[in-house]
Amino acid sequence: MKNSRRHFLKHSALASAGTMFIPSFLHGSSELIGAAKGYKKVVIIQLSGGNDGLNTVVPYRNDLYYKYRPNIGLKTSDLHTLTDEVGINNNLTGLKYLYDEGYLSIINQVGYPNPNRSHFRSMDIWQTASGSDEYLNEGWIGRYLDSQCSGCDKPYHAIEADDTLSLAMKGKNNTGLALTNANKFKQMLNEQDVHLDHAENENLSYLNKIYTSTQMSAEYVFDHSKIYKSKKEYPKGAFGNSLKLIAELIISQSETKVYYTSLTGFDTHVGQKGRQARLFENYSEGLKTLVLDLKENNMLDDTLIMTFSEFGRRVKENASRGTDHGTANNVFIVGRKLKKPGIYNAMPDLVNLDKFDLKYQVDFRNIYATMLEKWMDVDSSKILGKEFKPLQFV
């Protein structure tokens, strides 16, 4: 990776702007060479709109399931069966493959106390890792960047494959990077003139800092995006492209700890079956392609992929062959170093409901804590605000 280091120095915004001095916050920057083997990273996939978890992972032997869902309930012919009790929606063929390979852990009944059924609010809760009664302005990955652990203080340490940045990626003093195309992103930034001589004006200095570090990161990402070009065929569209970008950056050994992307459209109040099918195909084919891409390039061992949605949906179907906003949901963990591949914990309890909604059994912040502690090797309590006991999936 020596070549890329030279490249980076030569092309970095700071090096090229001759008159500019390098501000202190960029001193002692981390290794400029690529991420070595053993450099652990996570990919987070957000299913926006509230995916119906009960028609994703299906308790096909449970009569109550069919009682609550006489029209949209999935029969065994609509499923890939995983166990004697559990099947997954048969549009999740890619996910079935990952399950068979032992690369998938399904965590059921994930949620938080006093669940909120608003998309906006519940998404903020997941993204800021807050309780449902507190309002935080920083995202959990942003706080990870803020914690300034070695290798988590540059914008490119957390990349969102999108045009704009999610709250999850914004910290108090650091933010991640949002881009969909490394070349386009670099173009948007390269003409800008930045001055760094306003030390007395804290807010202006902050703007300059963010601009300069974004510029530098854009160069960094652009350089890395050229090293490996994937030949795999990802699903067409924004989501497939975002996974391809992520794969290319990982395989090019970009020093990025967190990648973030989302797929939207899961708000299935009406005509759920067909719509969820199309989304699932896109999701699971994309995910499988990503995993194979990483595996063939020896990068799967160092990558953990988590999929979540802001809430699950109501147990009982509605009158429009859809479902309304609900509560607890399943979370998927994909990787090759799973401690307990398969179905991690019990399926949702359809007997003891809370006003027709599922009761959560696993707090999502325990999942975050697991990833932070056991995978990223950092103290999660500083980032999550308090202690959450890690689970055993890695």
Partner: protein
């Protein structure tokens, strides 16, 4: 005290959304009393905003509607609220009473609230605009009884037998005292005092006596059978409320680095005036310290400051609601759709690696009616999808060429323009003259300064 150009601009940015070049030139050299009086006078008149599609409150009963009619009704409400957002923004651009709207944005953030009912939304917004420069006491009582707020904070569900604490908590934490100035018991007991506060479908506040808990409560150490009004009065009686509000207003209008001594003194007068907002504002704008260099150019423009400021300064107008909402979404401040009850976090929170790019290009985009190659986040809510996201990227705007040329006719070179556009001087000037012969020179110079980080400050 005579104001120089930078000081006039400072006042215009903080008490509004910036002034036009001619306004600034006109007031340069005038005393600060004269300029402040003038701004106050222009803002004195309150004119309510109206809904684009009038809806008679209570006329439509959801349960009487078919599924399709219900959808149609919800769509009308959404269109109304989006249009209201746009109308409000245009009012900020066009109306001379900018100080009222500037403060209304502050109060909208303070009393952050949203509703799917456009009638509730407009009543709430007009209530905030009406009281924006008046008495905070009146505003607190009015907003606490607005259906939009009671609905947003679930007070309709706050009943004698099953109290809902949401409203009682936020009224203390966010609207009056600020965090850590009350106990959990105060909230529990106050929630009981607010039981029975609700609203009718017609958009009227209603006190439902049957649902009200008339037993005695102990709040802030006092015991009586308090009602909701009593609690609001107790909150206003507490000097901490004046202090908390003054801190927030100081951060909004002066500096996010708080000067506790100045705040103490302001807050005392504010309290003694029985929460007269105009008094507090004049106290700030007529002080000497407000114009000190450490307060000038230190504020990061909010997305609204930026969006309104550009339109105002350069005589360019957005043509319709969609692009205006699109810009607000991308920049992270969509009026009438606050992220949650605590509103938007000001200052550095506006800034991240993507908003900073859009910000630095926004002026050019508006002037050129250009496109921003960035798609806003989709919330996932089916009703909120940007169905024509591609179309929205084109910022449909109209430049009034004559007004634009006329405005800057007296400008001779880029340094003069820089002094108008930037509150913080930049060392990187271009040393070019601006002339009528070189038609592009004015445009290029504006484009150049507008992309600098200094332009993001006010």
């Amino acid at each position: 005290m005579k104001l120089d150009q930078k000081e006039v601009q400072h006042l215009y940015w903080r008490a509004g959304f910036g002034g036009t070049y001619k306004e600034i030139t006109k007031y340069t050299g005038k005393s600060h009393q004269d300029v402040v009086n003038d701004l106050s006078k222009k803002a004195a008149n309150y004119k309510p905003l109206k809904l684009a599609v009038p809806i008679k409150p209570g006329e439509v009963k959801m349960k009487d509607l078919s599924v399709d009619e219900r959808k149609e009704f919800q769509k009308t409400n959404r269109t109304n609220i989006r249009q209201l957002n746009f109308d409000w923004i245009q009012l900020m651009v066009n109306d001379e009473g900018a100080l009222r709207e500037k403060m209304a944005v502050f109060w909208h953030n303070h009393f952050a609230c949203m509703s799917g009912q456009s009638v509730f939304t407009i009543n709430y917004l007009n209530s905030i605009r009406k009281h924006a420069l008046g008495s905070f006491r009146d505003m607190l009582f009015a907003i606490s009884k607005e259906p939009a707020m009671l609905q947003y904070l679930n007070n309709q569900q706050n009943r004698k037998k099953s109290p809902n604490e949401n409203f009682a908590r936020e009224v203390m934490e966010l609207f009056t005292l600020g965090r850590d100035n009350y106990t959990e018991k105060d909230i529990k007991e106050a929630a009981r005092a607010f039981t029975g506060w609700g609203f009718e479908n017609t958009g009227e506040f209603v006190f439902r006596e049957k649902q009200h808990d008339d037993e005695s409560k102990t709040i802030f150490g006092k015991t009586d059978n308090f009602n909701g009004d009593d609690v609001l009065n107790m909150l206003l009686e507490n000097k901490q409320t004046a202090h908390y509000l003054t801190q927030k207003i100081y951060a909004y209008l002066v500096n996010d680095q708080l000067d506790e001594k100045q705040i103490q003194s302001l807050s005392k007068t504010f309290y003694e005036s029985d929460y007269n907002i105009q008094t507090l504002l004049e106290d700030i704008f007529l002080s000497k310290w407000f114009y000190k260099s450490e307060n000038i150019g230190t504020r990061i423009k909010s997305p609204i400051d930026l969006l309104v400021g550009i339109q105002k300064s350069f005589h360019v107008k957005l043509n319709e609601a969609d692009p205006a909402i699109y810009v607000q979404t991308v920049l992270g401040q969509k009026l009438l759709y606050p992220p949650n009850v605590s509103g938007w976090d000001e200052g550095k929170s506006w800034i991240d690696s993507s908003t900073i790019i859009v910000r630095s290009k926004l002026t050019q985009m508006l002037l050129l009616s250009g496109a921003i190659d960035i798609l806003p986040k989709q919330s996932g809510d089916d009703f909120e999808l940007f169905k024509n996201a591609k179309k929205l990227r084109k910022i449909n705007s109209q430049l009034d060429v004559n007004a634009f040329k006329n405005e800057f006719a007296s400008i001779k070179n880029d340094v003069e323009l820089m002094h108008y556009m930037l509150q913080i001087d930049t060392p990187k000037t271009m040393n070019i003259s601006i002339s009528k012969e070189d038609k592009g020179s004015l445009f290029r110079t504006i484009a150049y300064y507008s992309q600098l980080m200094e332009y993001q400050m006010c």
